[in-house]
Subunit: 340 residues, 4 copies
C-alpha cells in the first residue's frame, strides 16, 4: 500500500506538531494539505514542511477525494461539525481530546463515526508515552499484583490565559480528563463514582468563570478499588505529571519531573535535573508514537488505540466530577453517561 | 544542672524505643524507672538498659519525688488520667500522640497542664526528622515563595491487627493526625475546613468497625490555600511517607521511600533502593532528636516543641475529617474545636 | 529529491538493526537490498522487512548503479576492501566502528574516501544519544564553565565469546574506542598522551590472547586537561555507560543505568530501576537518530557527523593505549598517528 | 563504670568537632580538658562547651592522672611525639589520620602503642558513615557476590591554601589515603601494587611543590582483583565522595552528592538536590558515630575499630602511590611497607 495521504486541520501548537511529525518523521504518511482559520499559519506551515497545499477552508479539504485521513486539532467547538463531515466522507479520523464540551455532542460524534464505519482515534497521547506503555506491560505481567489504588498528579506550569478559561469546559473537562482516561487505561476497570473538590489558590480571575485552579477528584471503581487525582494549574516549578498504582504485591510510579534524566548537571547552588517546561516536551515521544500508531493502524486496518467510546467514557467522568464539585456531593458516573 | 531523672511509663515498641534512647543515647538524661502493666516487659527493659527500678504501678512511679520527667507511652485511654496526675505532681511531661480519642478529655489534659504550669510535649516525632527540619528551614528562607498547596501521602506497610481497630479512633484520628500536624507545622496557618472520603480496598474486616483502609482528606486553610492527604493502611511495598508543598516560586518534597539513600545495590532483576520497613526505621533519627530536644528543653526551661495546644489542634482536624467522612459533607474545624 | 536507495551489507545484530530502521523508521530512505555471507540471514531479513532483493555477494550489491548509499556492518576485516570498492563506485558510505584493526588499513580507507570525494560516516552512535546531544549543548552553552576533567565508565554485562577475543583487536580498540571518541567529542580537544593499565579479574580465558577484562586509561589532553576511562567486560549487574565532565563552574554526568527512568516499581525486596540489558536497548534512540542523520545528510549534501578522520583519531588513541598497557609506560598519541 | 574522662588536643575545625561531640553528644564521656597552641582557641572552646580546664600545654594535659583518654587532632608532625607520650602515660588514644608523613615515624607510633598495650584508634571516619556501614554489611551478606573491582572518586570542593601544600604530604598521603583505607575495609584483602598518575588541571601553584590537583591510582589486590581511585582537589560543584564495588552477582555504590536526600526543592532553573559543601557536613554522622564507638570501646575494653596497623597499611599504599607517580612505574606496596 502507498502512503496514507493526510490533511491536518487546525495549526496551533499541537496541530503544528502533528503536521510536523506526519511530514518529517512518520514513514508511510504523506502530508498533502493543511488548513487553519489564519491564512498566515496555514501558508507558513505548508512552506516550512513542504506541504503541496494550504487553505483556510477546513470543510473543503476534508471532502477532497485524494485525502485518506484527517487530523482535527481545531478549537473544541469545531470538533463535532468537522468530524461528522469527515466521517460521512469516509475519511479515517484523528480528533484531539476532548471530543466536545457537551455529552450530547460527543455522543453525536460517536454515532456518526460508527454509522460511517470509519477509523476514528482520539488524542489521549499519554497512553503512547514509553513510560505509560511500560507501566501497562508491567501491570499486565502481574508485577504489582492486583491494582487497588490509582493516584495521579497533573500540574501545568501556569494557568491558561483568561480568555481561554470560559471556553475550556472547566478544569475537570479540560485538564483532569487525561487522568480519567489513564485511570481506565491502567486500572482496566470503570470508574463508578466521583467526589470532586476545588479551590482557587492563586488565579483569582477564575472566580468570575466559576472555575478553580486546583482540584482533587476522589474515584471509586466498580470493584471497590479507589483513587485520587490532583489537578493544579499553577505549578510554578514546571510541568509535572505523575501516576501511581498501588497493588497487592507492589507499587508502580510514573514520574514526570525529569526531561533528560540521563544528563545531570551539578553546580554550586543549582540543579541536578532539568524540569519539563511543558507538555510538548514531556510528551514529545508520545506525540510521535501516537501518529506512528495512527498511520500504521489506518494502513493495516486495525482498531483505534483510543476509541471514541473511550473518549466518551473519560468525558462522562469529567462531567460527573464537575457536577460533584458544584453540587458538593458524590456523583455517579453512570447517571451522567445516561442522562447528561 | 545534673541529669534529668526520667521514668518511662508504657513499654510497647515505642515506649521501649524512648526508654532505650533516654538510657543510652541522650546525654543529660538518667532513666531511673520504667513501668508497664506486664511485669515481664518492665523487668526485661530494666535489666537490658541497666535501669535501677521497674514496676507495674504507673501511678506510684509518677508521684516519686526523685523523678523529674515522665514519658507516657501507654495505651491512649490511659493518657488523660496519668497526665493529670503527673501534672499535679509537678512533673515535666512527654505524651505520645494522640492526646486522647475524645476532644473533651484532651481539653482536660490541656487544662491540667496549664493549671500546673508544667512542661508538656506531645509526640509528633515527624517534626524532628532531619528532612522535615530542613523543609521548615527552606520554607522559612523563602526558597519556594509563598506556600499554596500542601500534599501528603502516608502509607503503612499493613493494616493493624483487627483487635486494634475498634480502639484506634479510626484512620483519621489514629493515622492521618500526623499529617494534620505537619500541615499546620509546614504551612504555618490553620486548617479551617476538611472534606474526607474513604474506602475499604483490601481489609474487609474493617467494615464491621465502620473504619476504612484508605482515605483522602481535602484541606482548606484560612487564607485560601488548600491541600490533600492520602492515608493508606495496606502499602504492600513498604512504609512510605511523603510530604510536598507547592509555593509561588518552587516546590518542595520530602520523600520517604529510601532508607539508606547513599547505598544502592544494582543487581540483575533486583533493586536499587531499600524500602523502609516501618516507622521505627524511617523515623529512627526523629525519635532520638525528639528525646534530645525534650531533655534539653526541660533542663534549660524552654517551651515545648510541640505543645498540648498543637496536639489539640491536630485532633480537632482529625475529628472533623472523621465526621466529614461519616456525614458525606465538608466540616468546619472551628465548629469541632468549640463543640466536639 | 526522492528516497535515498540503500543497501545494508552484514546482517548481524547491529546490521539487522540498521536495516530495520532504514526500512521501517527512517523517512526518506528506501532499503532496496541486503547482503550477508549467510544466505538464510539475508533471505530472512529481506522477507521480514519487505526488501526487494537479497544476496550473499556484497561486492555485487555495492556496485549496483541503482544504489545510492551502502551501510557496511560486516566483520571488521572486511571494512577496508568493501569501503574502498564502494568509494570508487561513488556511493555514500556508512561504516561501523572501528574502521579497521590496523592504522595503515584505516589510513587507506580515509585516502580512498577523500580521493573519491564521497560522503562517509563512521558508526560512533553514542554521539547521537539524546543525553550525549544534550551534554554537548550544555557544555557549548557554558553550563559547566571550562571542561577540566573527562571521566568515563563503560561496562558490558558479560565478556564476549572466547572465539571473538583474538579478532577483537583487544579491549582498547574494540571497546574503549567509544570513550576515546566521546573524549574528543565532548572535550573538543585532542588527547596527546595515554597511560593504560589492565587486569583479568574474572575471564581467565583472556590470558592466552594477552587481553584483559578490565582496564583503565589515563588521558592527557593538549591543554593540560586530564581524564580517566574504566572499561569492564564483566558487569554482572547490567550494561552501564557513564560519562562525566568536571568543569570550572560545574559538573555534568550522563548516566546509563536506567532504562525506563520514568517507571519505578517498588516492591518488597525488589527493585526500583530497570537495568539496561545491553547496548541495543541503551542506545535504541541513538541508533535510530544516527540513521536519520545519515540519510538526511546524504540527501541534503552535508558533511558527516562523524568523519573517517574522527574515526582515525579515536583509533590512534586506542592503539596508543594498547601499546601503553603492553609496554608499561605512557605513550604519545601523535607518535602512533604518524608511525603505527 | 563512670564516664570516660577525655582531653582533646588540637582545636582546629576537626578537633573542635570532636570536642563538641564528646561534650554534648556522646553519653558516657566527660570532656575535662582541651588544649591548643592558640590560647584564644582553647579558651573559647572551653567556655562554649563548659569544659573545666583549658591549656596551651598539650604535654601537660596528656600526663594528667585524672585523664583516661586523649584525642590528638594537632598538625600531623605533632602526632608522633604526643602519641608516644600518651601511650607511655597509659592513656587510651584517638589519633587523626594520617599517623604521620613518614613511614618510619608511623612505625614508631605503632611500636609505642603496642609496647604500652593501650587502646589506640585512628580517625578514618568514613568507616563509621551509615552508608559505608550498610555497604560493609551487604557485602558480608553476599549481596553482590565476590567483589572483583573497587572504584572510588574523592573530590574536594577546592584546593587547600597554598601554605598547606608543602606540609600536606602530597595528594596521595593527604587525601587519597581515605580511599586506600576504604579499599582494604570493603574489599577485605590487601593491595599489592599501585600505579599512579596525576596532573595539574587547574591549581598551577602546585607545580612548585611537585604536587598535583588531580590523580588516578590503579590498584591491584592480592587475589587478582583490581580497582581505580580518582582524587580531585578542585570539584567546583561541591564535595563528592563515591565508592563502588563490582561483584560477581551485582554492584554496590555509595554516592555522596546528596546532603539531605529526602528533601528536594524543585524550582524553575534551579536544583533538585543539595550538594554537600564539605566533609564536616557529609560525614557529620560518621564523626559522631566514631566518637561514640571510641568511648564505648574504651569503656568496655574492645579492640579499636581502626587500628594503628590499619593506618600503617593505608599509609604504605599512599607512599607507594606517591613513588609510582614520581617514578612513572608500578610500585609494590610490600616493598614500601618493609623499606620506606
Amino acid at each position: 500500500m502507498g502512503d496514507v495521504r493526510c490533511a491536518v486541520v487546525g495549526l496551533g501548537r499541537l496541530g503544528s506538531r502533528h503536521a510536523y511529525n506526519l511530514a518529517k518523521n512518520v514513514k508511510g504518511a504523506s502530508l498533502v494539505a493543511v488548513a487553519d482559520v489564519l491564512p498566515e499559519s496555514a501558508e507558513k506551515t505548508a512552506r516550512e514542511l513542504g506541504v503541496p497545499e494550504w487553505t483556510t477552508d477546513a470543510e473543503a479539504v476534508i471532502q477532497r477525494a485524494d485525502i485518506d485521513a484527517v487530523v482535527i486539532v481545531t478549537s473544541t467547538d469545531m470538533h463535532a461539525p468537522l468530524a461528522k463531515k469527515a466521517a460521512e466522507a469516509g475519511k479515517a479520523l484523528f480528533i484531539e481530546k476532548p471530543l466536545s464540551l457537551d455529552m450530547e455532542e460527543s455522543r453525536a460524534i460517536v454515532e456518526a463515526v460508527e454509522k460511517a464505519g470509519v477509523y476514528c482515534e482520539v488524542g489521549f497521547m499519554r497512553r503512547f508515552d514509553p513510560a505509560y506503555q511500560e507501566a501497562k506491560r508491567r501491570i499486565a505481567a502481574g508485577d504489582i499484583g492486583r491494582p487497588l489504588y490509582f493516584k495521579a498528579v497533573s500540574r501545568d506550569p501556569q494557568a491558561p490565559p483568561e480568555s481561554y478559561i470560559p471556553r475550556s469546559g472547566g478544569i475537570f473537562v479540560d485538564m483532569t480528563i487525561h487522568d480519567y482516561d489513564l485511570a481506565r487505561f491502567l486500572m482496566e476497570r470503570e470508574v463508578t463514582e466521583v467526589t470532586a473538590m476545588g479551590s482557587i489558590v492563586h488565579s483569582k480571575e477564575m472566580e468570575k468563570y466559576d472555575d478553580v485552579d486546583t482540584a482533587v477528584t476522589y474515584l471509586r471503581f466498580e470493584d471497590g478499588a479507589a483513587g485520587d487525582i490532583e489537578s493544579t494549574r499553577n505549578s510554578f516549578y514546571g510541568y509535572d505529571i505523575r501516576t501511581e498504582i498501588i497493588g497487592t504485591e507492589g507499587s508502580l510510579i510514573i514520574s514526570g519531573v525529569q526531561r533528560h534524566p540521563r544528563v545531570q548537571v551539578w553546580k554550586p547552588g543549582s540543579g541536578t535535573y532539568e524540569i519539563e517546561p511543558g507538555f510538548l516536551e514531556r510528551f514529545e515521544m508520545a506525540y510521535l508514537a501516537e501518529m506512528v500508531s495512527f498511520i500504521e493502524r489506518v494502513r493495516e486496518g486495525g482498531t483505534p488505540a483510543v476509541s471514541v467510546r473511550d473518549a466518551l467514557a473519560a468525558q462522562a467522568i469529567a462531567v460527573a466530577a464537575d457536577r460533584s464539585y458544584r453540587e458538593k456531593r458524590s456523583v455517579s458516573v453512570e447517571a451522567v453517561s445516561v442522562t447528561a
